[in-house]
Amino acid sequence: MSEWKYNLVAFYTIFSKEIRRFMRIWPQTLLPPVITMTLYFVIFGAVIGSRVGEMGGFDYMTFVVPGLVMMSVITNSFTNVASSFFSNKFQRSIEELLVSPVPNWVILAGYTMGGVVRGLYVGVLVMCLGAFFIELQIHNILVTLLAVILTAMLFALGGFINAIFAGKFDDIAIIPTFVLTPLTYLGGVFYSIDVLPEPWRQLSMLNPILYQVNAFRYGILGQDSGISIVWAFAVMILAIVMMAVWALHLLKVGKGLRS
């Protein structure tokens, strides 16, 4: 068997193991985001949203649905890899992989794609929930898919790096709590940055999540937020490459994995 076939089997093994894991524990992985987002839809959309009026040229509920989908994708793709990889580290079952001939890039690809699928799975569930509240439309399917997949990849890689550095379970909650949640809430999920006064508008432009949310919202609604889609994708791809290189370096030096 040639080397690439070995690697393909190894990739599929890691990938399918990751899928099996989050499907097996669905009450912990799939149900909570569905419940949380239902509450968001009811409160922000139906209760408060009706008083807000329009946002970015759309009624508030229509505006907020793509943002909430992206919020779920970001959180779930990150959490999936962070908790799965760290759990393997904690139980030392990661040694099964480390002693095997699987190259580092296959390990990274397997875990990342597992996180991407969890992110997309939850994203689709939230989108279906949203369909109960708004009339779903997709303005540009290519932009929509690219935005959601690249975002899931980026945060899955982030979860992987977080898990490598984490020494205890508390450490995998620090980044989601203190970095991801604030950036997501300030990243245009609930409002258009057009409503912000300066300098907050300019400061918001430094938030990478803003580009992802806006690109996705453009794909769904066709809303022009004033941020170039090409520029948004360029930022995402650059960030993915940088995170992947960093993760591969950490695997190569065995950070937190080899003594």
């Binding site: 093994t13 890691i14 139980q91 079952s93 040694e95 480390l98 001939p101 080899r258």
Partner: protein, 313 residues
């Protein structure tokens, strides 16, 4: 003959300055059943960790069947099966899934791996537990699971780090039979153990490591040949109030119905029995006081004072 494992001038210093390995050299030939012994903190697990790539070496070379672990890592790892000292499988996965997943890491597709796993699970008495979640297994079953997992990709070199620790005698002996069988089928085996009887029973060659250095590397026969003296316990048919003096033997009373005798290597026991007959002392049974290898092991590893930080990883 092909070298299954070759270690040259292997050194390992940890970040805290502790030198776990001080330039060890070791060769294990293909087909061998080799024992690597040493007290706690001697460097056994560090050596195995380096071979399996879980520990980064400071310097030196390691090759598995001629494949350097640095320059030909993939080829070297394909030849190698590792059974670690501590349980390192996912406690929430099912027994057979753990093995099938491990096979996948070696490029064996799941359908094929499921078929192959049946053989090892049956041989190791785990077939009935194949759908059990691994954390529900007993300690002995968990050890056997790790052996099955290490064998699934048919490694040519199997390294077992204390595989029978905490395992009851009956199971230990069944594992010995299994290991003997796979060794006879061609798998080279390196074993570390605290049960010196295990090494004596199973292994043809032996290395003793102490404080990061190989202090002995020879055949089991040669090593046991270095024994100068053995102690035997003799059980007597009738109580003996006072032990008479035996010419040439040191004899001590253990209790009313047993005595302990030291016998020099070139002395033999015929003369002892003759003197026992002269004193009308009838012996019902005779056994070694302690494992012979244990005596040698202690003498080889207690000659030097303990280094600072000896028990660090």
């Amino acid at each position: 003959m092909t070298k299954a494992l070759e270690i040259k001038n292997l050194q390992k210093s940890y970040d805290n300055g502790f030198q776990a390995l001080k330039g060890i050299n070791l060769e294990v030939q293909e087909g061998d059943f080799y024992a690597l012994l040493g007290p706690n903190g001697a460097g056994k697990s560090t050596t195995i960790g380096i071979i399996s790539s879980l520990v980064r070496k400071t310097s030196g070379h390691v090759s598995v069947f001629g494949h350097d672990i640095d320059s030909e890592m993939v080829k070297a790892k394909r030849m190698l099966g590792i059974v670690p000292q501590e349980f390192n499988f996912n406690q929430f996965e099912k027994v057979q899934d753990i093995i099938v997943t491990q096979a996948g890491y070696y490029g064996i597709p799941a359908i094929e791996a499921r078929k192959q796993s049946e053989k090892y699970l049956k041989q190791l008495g785990l077939w009935e537990k194949r759908n059990s979640v691994s954390r529900m297994l007993s300690g002995g079953m968990k050890r056997r699971l790790m052996i099955a997992r290490a064998l699934i990709h048919k490694p040519r070199l199997l390294i077992l780090d204390e595989p029978t620790a905490g395992v009851d005698i009956e199971l230990r002996r069944s594992l010995w039979d299994f290991l003997r069988e796979i060794n006879e089928q061609g798998t080279t085996i390196i074993l570390t153990t605290h049960y010196l009887e295990e090494a004596e029973q199973l292994c043809r060659n032996i290395g003793i490591i102490d404080k990061g250095e190989i202090v002995e590397n020879t055949t089991m026969k040669n090593l046991l040949g270095k024994l100068q003296r053995e102690s035997f316990i003799l059980d007597l048919s009738k109580p003996v109030a006072d032990i008479p003096s035996f010419a040439g033997y040191s004899v001590r009373k253990v209790d009313d119905l047993s005595i302990e005798v030291d016998v020099a290597k070139d002395q033999g026991v015929n003369e002892l029995f003759r003197q026992l007959s002269d004193y009308s002392i009838s012996v019902t049974s005779m056994r070694n006081k302690s494992n012979r290898l244990e005596e040698l092991f202690v003498s080889l590893t207690t000659s030097k004072p303990a280094a600072e930080g000896e028990n660090q990883p």
